[in-house]
């Protein structure tokens, strides 16, 4: 890389850092009224999205690093290549499972949406008729490609035939679910609810076929409204059944096994190691080798005894001493550390924002 290009790279980094920081600086220092007036708050969402995008790109880097580091180890059979195989197999297994799960959830959402639109369509017919007859203000959205709004009767018959199609699909899915596996009580109840909802909608659809073809009367509107409500009930019952089915699918079961059964349990096991390590570390730390370690030992002993009833049994003031140790010297030390680190962090943040950096961070000597 030439010196000129390095310079441009460094300059671009500085500009981007400054511009990136200036938003947060203004957001922090300006009074609320000014933030609203200048529209600073409106920039919040795109900037937050920008962070997510950068984070996502970085995840790609992590994946590339895992594959290249462990892949090369396996290919060249370097020391410990077996661990890399385990890692890559685990990585692929979880990627495959989550992808399958994602595809399944997209399918479920599409299927549920297909049922949800029945109620929305009925509602739309009512609204459009109200707008056309001047009973409501608004714009008619359901216009055919030719530019004209189809007749109410035609729309209703389309609605009825679409809902019948969906009901047939739902019924066959219910029958399949019943035939394929033994259902739990909760699952059976869900299916009964779904069947009831689909029967209600079917009955409602028969009423709709009697509506005249030109415009809606008030009783027709009421019938459509009732149909829409029943369709919403059907959609909600169907959504519950579909999600319940998805939760027992193969991909979900494999995911549960890998994540909840293996990953979380291993994490808990690692956390449990802390108990052993604390004892080992305490043994090393509490050996009295100097005045400081003696002080630490005494303080730790008082705090430990102060937390248990045996301490109170030994000396009634033990909990009070323990509390004083925690609230006074301990808090003072904590605050001092936090204040020091906070001030140092502030200085470093200013330095980073204004790109007052040492050469190592800003230039490359290639």
């Amino acid at each position: 890389m030439s010196a000129g290009r390095v310079d441009v790279r460094a300059r671009l980094t500085r500009i981007a850092t400054f511009l990136g920081g200036i938003y947060f600086f203004f957001y922090f220092v300006c009074p609320e009224s000014m933030i609203e007036q200048w529209g600073i708050q409106e920039a919040n969402e795109p900037i937050s999205n920008g962070f997510i995008v950068v984070g996502t790109m970085a995840i790609g880097l992590g994946i590339i690093n895992i594959i290249s580091a462990h892949g090369s180890k396996v290919i060249f059979k370097r020391r410990g290549w077996q661990y890399s195989v385990a890692l890559l197999v685990g990585f692929l297994a979880i990627i495959t499972t989550t992808t399958a799960q994602w595809i399944e959830s997209v399918k479920v959402s599409k299927r549920v949406h297909g049922v949800q639109v029945i109620g929305d369509f009925a509602q739309r017919i009512i609204e459009d008729d109200q707008i056309v007859s001047g009973r409501k203000e608004g714009i008619v959205k359901s216009v055919s490609p030719a530019g004209a709004l189809p007749q109410v009767g035609a729309r209703i018959s389309a609605l009825v035939s679409y809902s019948n199609l969906q009901l047939r699909k739902i019924n066959s899915e219910v029958n399949e679910s019943r035939a394929m596996s033994r259902l739990s009580q909760a699952e059976s109840e869900l299916l009964i609810e779904l069947e009831q909802a689909s029967r209600d909608l079917e009955a409602s659809a028969i009423i709709l076929t009697q509506i005249p073809r030109d415009s809606l009367r008030s009783e027709d509107e009421a019938a459509l409204q009732a149909f829409s409500q029943k369709a919403a009930r059907l959609a909600s019952a169907f959504s519950l059944v579909m999600r319940k089915n998805a939760s027992t699918s193969l991909s979900q079961r494999v995911y549960d096994l890998l994540y909840n059964g293996v990953f979380n349990q291993l994490g808990s096991a690692m956390f449990a190691l802390l108990g052993v390590y604390i004892a080992a570390a305490a043994y090393r730390a509490f050996r009295i080798r100097s005045v400081e370690s003696a002080l630490m030992m005494i303080a730790a002993l008082i705090v430990m005894l102060g937390q248990i009833s045996f301490g109170k049994h030994l000396y009634s003031e033990m909990p009070a001493i323990c509390q004083w140790l925690l609230e006074v010297p301990n808090s003072a030390a904590f605050r001092a550390i936090r204040l020091g680190a906070g001030v140092a962090g502030l200085m470093l943040a200013i330095r980073m924002w204004l790109s007052i950096e040492s050469t190592s961070f800003t230039t490359r000597n290639k």
Binding site: G267, A280, A341, V343, I356, R364, N365
Partner: protein, 273 residues
């Protein structure tokens, strides 16, 4: 304001003062002023630990653990660069386990620069950066595994740590690595003191890179933060005096530091002529 904190004019003045102090110290130090930095035994030990690795032919391990991209990471990078230059000169192996992919990109760039500065750019191996996991205990178990396989002679634990701190430090202790830790989390400092050979407490982490490199920018930052802290101590003394006086004479009305710092813009407008 939904989830955001806003500076009061008092805090804004403090931030402006911090900026002014930084520029003033930078000018003074670039002009030849020598700022005294007290000895930090942990950092002196770090230099010895790298030398020990060279004698034993063992690698050096450096982790920034759960540190995200931010001021703490940049403070850690200063130390990492100094360690990497020594590692490059002694032709040692450096292992840098990573928790966050964002951090990894920054650390890699910084390491590459350090190797170039040491004159051994070609010796830099991108695979010395090992991405383990973004899950806390998965990272800890990966770190333990690396520690037991690589058996480093020295381990540096710099940055932000949580419950995994003891797991990491104990793993180093088990393989007999000389360990230097630095954390800004006071809760973890106690664990490091128990387990590591040397521990840098709180802001010493920020001072470490200035101590090692003596670069004007870093020393000026250290000097500015010292001055700013002195100022904050003054504010604390002012607060203590005010609290003491008002406890003696409760009817007396005096301006407390928190009144000034927490007063909003409308209060300041009323104060100003």
């Amino acid at each position: 304001m939904n989830g955001f904190e806003h500076a009061t004019p008092g805090v804004l003045i403090l931030v402006a003062l911090a900026m002014l102090l930084l520029f003033r110290e930078l000018r003074r130090i670039r002009g030849g002023h020598q700022h005294f930095i007290r000895r930090i035994p942990g950092i002196d030990a770090l230099e010895g630990a790298v030398g020990r690795c060279a004698e034993q032919g063992r690698p050096v391990m450096f982790t920034t653990a759960l540190t995200d991209v931010g001021p703490v990471l940049f403070a850690c990078l200063g130390v990492l660069q100094a360690v990497a230059k020594k590692v490059a000169r002694y032709k040692l192996k450096l292992v840098v386990p990573q928790y966050s992919p964002e951090t990894m990109a920054v650390v890699e760039d910084s390491l590459r620069a350090a190797y170039h500065e040491a004159g051994r750019g070609s010796a830099f191996d991108p695979q010395s950066l090992v991405f383990l996991s973004s899950e806390q205990f998965a990272f800890a178990s990966g770190y333990m595994g690396l520690m037991h396989r690589e058996k480093p002679g020295a381990a540096c634990l710099f940055g932000v740590f949580a419950a995994e701190s003891l797991v990491l430090a104990e793993a180093g202790q088990q393989v007999g690595a000389r360990q230097v830790a630095a954390s800004v989390s006071p809760e973890q400092v106690a664990f490091f003191i128990c387990t590591c050979d040397y521990t840098l407490i709180g802001e010493e982490l920020f001072g470490a890179s200035a101590y090692m490199s003596r670069e004007p920018v870093q020393v000026a930052t250290l000097a500015a933060q010292d001055r700013f802290k002195l100022m904050m101590c003054g504010v604390i003394v002012w607060g203590v005096l005010c609290a003491t006086i008002t406890s003696w004479w409760p009817t007396l009305r005096i301006v407390m530091p928190q009144d000034v710092l927490s007063a909003d813009w409308s209060t300041w407008r009323a104060w100003l002529p």
